[in-house]
Amino acid sequence: MRYLPHTSEEIDAMLATVGAAGLDELFASVPSDCRVARPWDLPAPRSEWELNDHLRALAASMGVDEQTAVLVGAGSYHHHIPETVRALAGRSEFLTSYTPYQPEMAQGTLQAIFEYQTLTARLLGVDVVNASMYDGASALAEALLMALRVAKKKRRVAVAKAIHPHYRAVVRAYLQPAGFEIVELDTLTSGRTDLGGLAAHGDLAAVALQSPNFFGVIEDLDSAAAVVHRTDALLVAAFTEPLAYGLFKSPGACGADIVCGEGQSFGLPRSFGGPYLGMFGCKAPFTRNLPGRLVGETKDAEGRRGYVLTLATREQHIRREKATSNICSNQGLCALTAAIYMASLGGTGLRQLARLNYDRAEYLKGLLVRAGAKIVFDGPTFNEFVVEFAADFRPARERLLARNIVTGLELGDLYPELAGRYLFCVTETIDKKTMDTIAAEVAA
């Protein structure tokens, strides 16, 4: 096997040094009744070339491929990824290194993550951002746990129903064992969350909104912050599409206390849902309550600028059961990837790309309305919107699939009251011709 370098002569020499007669003897401490007793029946080992063929065959069995126009987002977005992002994030000095516990040997990772923290904090409008969480969903769960820690005695949080249903499911899984209570907030006809009855829910540690929310609707975070803060709760702002903040006001600027969500849009492929990037930041007063790793700047013995992992007293390996989270490995390489993507776009490019996404989504909205469809929620949207068709959309959807276009996510499984409605997503990867084709098929 090409990954195993030992020759039989070397093995013999090493066994002699160790004082063992054979390799099996090295496992003498494993009792016989703990041992593997039957074959695993794994497939025969494949050569590199056979492995290529095998994965190619798996890929060929997919109903859609990289050529398909997929107008579905729902937390996983198709944006163009520059080759530079792949090439640089794929450099093996980054890829094959461990967590930077030895900072003198990891200044590349450390400076890159410090830059990631900085750019992401500027994007989200917060003071501090950590070095990443697993994904947007677990980031939201950790944000609510953090708010409960900050609030100390409170046991309840409110979560908008317009937050991604999978994220809410993860929140339930994380909060349920400790007995925290979750109140769900309804959606108005605008697609925004109803914050009217907040006070009636009693002592809330936090209120979580997503903006743009699952329906693509931009929540009124400015007003929400005022309302939520009046109840003495923290505003947790979640997101699945950070590109929106290239155009719309950032959650931090609107007054959110903790901002968290999914960074996949920034240079990561859809890859069937992972690895993605949990972005997580907050206002300065809450820094020491943050979960996860943080990179900080310092000086070396000669006064030169350098970076280290810092404020580790919050973390599991120091605080043990009193840590702010159990997270250890995070999504470091995904954070690096997002930083390279943000650096490639720059401030000017970010605004231009976000605007392009907005314009294209609005264009399809207009076409569909002219073709007789209705936009279900009348609030402003970014990239995604919910469509109700005059007639059963399924036949047209099938015809479009035959033309390699996947149009929208049917919402009945996730929101029974929205059965038969479709969540559409348009990014810069969907061209005018494709949108015109969809509109023609809907009109037909």
Binding site: L88, E104, L119, Y134, G332
Partner: protein
């Protein structure tokens, strides 16, 4: 010693590079953006924000920046990385290619099952392989890291006890278990009860019997433990825990020692997580992403996270109709790209290859242990598994610490071992060579450590001043924590 006496750690061409925002010029761009094609749409000006304060850089600016940064880093591809408990083995290049297969990298996670048969099949096969390898019955691939797997395991404990009608509030955690365990258990409201290992570094069933009661949900142990030793009496311990209505969690972070040897189910383990970024060769990426699949007995399968990937005839589908499930712990299917790499590794290695990997990992660790134990204190002098733990006891006379030796190793061109862990050994130096290091490279590493031990006696300042050949020297971590500077611009 190999054919040359030169250590890898010679000084190199280390270029300076400013922070991103000290580069570039307003108006540059490093990425191609499609043409407009459609008219500009109306937008509510009250919703529009200030443009994000990002530097504008050209493509060349970006490429040079990250290339220079990468050159300040050290990875497995740069050299030996004997970081104990982290299993820094070689990360095969072909695995990267497989994960980047276009239709797989482009797969959307929310489409209908019939459009995703290839990715679902891959998940199902990987579940089957990991079940076979661990001896357990069912697997969830959702957890995104080892600690996430631990959390999933604790959620399963919690849901199982609740289903049986009586919740418990404590959990046993040996002092030789992984560091993340107590924090993972705490998320389920379990209070950690420490179990001391004996003078041989082993868990004593009598002590477990004393501590285990009907208020205790079970035990979280690591086997082989963090001293690199196999828990020989694990079956007895499991029987004690089971008799009191508890469950046994096995932290499989050290699985690289026992592939083809240990059957977790026969050991009495109910729930086990694997670290695919350790045992199954996926790259650590400077801190992640990893993957921490959870393997369970048939009895606990109903509690695994949803959705489950199931096979019906020759079709695959996602099944969420599992009323006892702990729910969802990841937005989608876990770190899928990492799973593709581990799947590729298993298919490349095959059964014999995986078993051989553990044999050679254990051989390498024992070889290093034997060749260093005359100069470094070995607190538990007995055959080890895939890692060995020394301490700085013999260097204390010169007031040289584990940290000093670790930093000096950097000058010799090696990533230091894990230091000051496990906590049960004072001044621990935990070496895990892994199977992908050859004898020549081990000999050179051993020679480097022996040279350092000599230097500790003759020129101890060389160690205290180390490292000297890196981009930066020792960094002021106290200052970093006292006055945190967590975002730019730079304070220096």
């Amino acid at each position: 010693m190999s054919t040359t006496n030169e250590f890898p750690g010679t000084g190199g061409l280390i270029l300076n590079e400013p922070l991103l925002w000290h580069k570039g010029k307003k108006g540059r761009i490093g990425m191609s953006i499609p043409a407009g094609e459609v008219p500009a749409a109306a937008i509510d000006p009250l919703l529009v924000g200030e443009p994000a304060d990002f530097p504008d850089l050209s493509e060349v600016d970006v490429v040079r920046h990250y290339t220079r940064l990468s050159q300040w880093n050290f990875g497995v591809d740069s050299g030996m990385y004997p970081l104990g408990s982290c299993t820094m083995k070689y990360n095969p290049k072909t695995n990267e290619r497989q994960a980047a297969t276009p239709a797989i990298a482009a797969a959307h996670p929310m489409l209908a099952d019939e459009l995703c048969q290839g990715t679902l099949r891959l998940l199902h096969e990987l579940q089957t392989y990991l079940a076979a390898i661990t001896g357990l019955d069912a697997v969830s691939l959702q957890p995104a890291a080892g600690a996430h797997g631990e959390l999933t395991g604790m959620l399963i404990f919690h849901a199982w006890h609740r289903h049986r009608g009586a919740q418990r509030h404590k959990i046993l955690i040996p002092d030789t278990a992984h560091g993340t365990n107590p924090a993972s258990a705490a998320l389920c409201g379990y209070q950690a009860v420490a179990v001391k290992s004996d003078e041989r570094g082993m868990l004593d069933p009598a002590l477990v019997a004393e501590l285990m009661d009907e208020e205790t949900a079970g035990i979280m142990l690591t086997n082989p433990n963090t001293l690199g030793l196999f828990e020989e009496r694990i079956r007895e311990i499991a029987a004690i825990v089971h008799a009191k209505g508890g469950l046994v969690y096995g932290d499989g972070a050290n699985m690289n020692a026992v592939l083809g040897v240990m059957d977790a189910k026969r050991c009495g383990i109910d729930v086990l997580h694997l670290n695919l970024h350790k045992t199954f060769s996926t790259p650590h990426g400077g801190g992640g992403p990893g993957a921490g699949p959870v393997c369970v007995t048939g009895e606990l399968e109903p509690f695994l996270p949803v959705p489950r990937v199931v096979k019906e005839g020759d079709r695959y589908r996602l099944d969420s109709d599992r009323p006892l499930s702990v729910g969802r712990i990841h937005a989608f299917h876990g770190n899928f790209g990492v799973l593709v790499r581990a799947y590729s590794y298993i298919l490349s290695m095959g059964e014999a290859g995986l078993k051989r990997a553990s044999q050679l990992a254990v051989l390498n660790a024992n070889y290093v242990k034997e060749r260093l134990k005359d100069v470094l204190h070995l607190p538990y002098d007995r055959p080890c598994m895939h890692e060995c733990v020394f301490s700085d006891l013999k260097q204390q006379a010169q007031k040289i610490t584990t940290l000093d030796m670790a930093k000096r190793l950097i000058d010799y061109g090696y990533h230091p071992p894990t230091i000051y862990f496990p906590l049960v050994v004072h001044g621990a130096l935990m070496i895990e060579p892994t199977e992908t290091e050859c004898k020549d490279d081990l000999d050179q590493f051993i020679a480097a450590l022996r040279a350092i031990v000599r230097e500790a006696e003759e020129q101890p300042d060389l160690l205290r001043q180390a490292p000297q050949r890196t981009k930066v020297r020792r960094l002021d971590e106290v200052q970093a924590a006292r006055c945190p500077c967590l975002t730019g611009p730079s304070a220096v």
